[in-house]
């Protein structure tokens, strides 16, 4: 019994088809970056996948940038960090610039094209532009730009089902945001729709 099989068998005892997705979501504090990752994590758990979410903030809670890593896998997850994500979801230009070079070849880069221009030097990746802020503005609240992006990502990569993400909303949104639940759902769906059209 090789080391690898041993480890997997010991921990899981089988499963469905092997999945492994490493996602980095990045933007500014206040854009709801963390919530995006957490929704993904909840959805993945509901679907019995292994998942780890790991955040990285700017200065304590304030000002500047925020990013989080979500790793979904049918295997047990070792490293909760990655230097080479499969997918990048970039909500602003500076963060796009920072992380775009790290995405794996053949990877996917989702760009919030309301605030950032798609990278030109990653023609080895699939680049998807989503005008998330504009769409959110249309929906009536700039704050749901994150949901638009997440919806698009889910539709595109299908790491989890959109319903699982929607189901997770209730658990993840902070109490004082509960009123916005329907709007968030709408934004997720709108994002998915957009991605479907691409």
């Amino acid at each position: 019994m090789s080391y690898k099989t041993a480890a997997i068998e010991a921990q899981h005892g089988g499963g469905t088809q092997p999945v492994h997705q490493e996602v980095i979501i990045a933007g500014t504090g206040g854009q709801g970056i963390m919530v995006m990752g957490q929704l993904l994590a909840h959805a993945a758990m509901a679907e019995e996948k292994n998942v780890v979410w790991f955040p990285s903030y700017g200065p304590e809670t304030r000002g500047g940038t925020a990013d989080c890593t979500v790793i979904l896998s049918s295997d047990e997850i070792g490293s909760p960090v990655t230097a080479t994500p499969d997918t990048l979801i970039a909500m602003t230009q500076p963060l796009l610039d920072k992380f775009a070079p790290s995405v794996k070849r053949e990877g996917v880069i989702l760009v919030n094209s309301s605030l950032a221009a798609p990278p030109r030097d990653r023609d080895d990746c699939k680049i998807v532009s989503v005008p998330a802020n504009d769409v959110a503005d249309e929906l009536g609240n700039l704050r749901v730009a994150n949901m638009v992006m997440l919806g698009a990502f889910t539709e595109l990569l299908k790491p989890v089902r959109l319903e699982s993400v929607i189901a997770a909303l209730a658990e993840v949104l902070p109490p004082h945001r509960k009123a916005l639940l329907p709007l968030n759902e709408k934004a997720l769906k709108r994002g998915a729709e957009l991605a479907g059209q691409l």
């Binding site: 500014t28 854009q31 602003t92 230009q93 309301s114 605030l115 802020n133 503005d137 700039l142 730009a145």
Partner: protein, 67 residues
């Protein structure tokens, strides 16, 4: 004629200038700047008294006042 200029790339859309302006001539604009903030704008230049209250409360020093 007194007036103000608002740097829309610096503005964070906090609305305090609008709140403080005695003439009530600052409103929040449609759309947003490159950081994603909905910015403020002067809607009636003629009414501006140059009192600078908007500038004095602006946390981001986005406003300059001319008189």
């Amino acid at each position: 004629m007194p007036t103000i200029t608002i740097d829309r790339e610096i503005c964070k859309g906090c609305e305090l200038c609008a709140h403080f302006c005695p003439q009530k001539i600052i409103k929040m604009a449609d759309g947003f700047n490159s950081k994603g903030y909905r910015v403020s704008c002067l809607i009636d230049c003629k009414a501006c008294t140059g009192c600078a209250l908007c500038a004095k409360i602006c946390p981001d020093v986005a406003i300059e006042v001319w008189r």
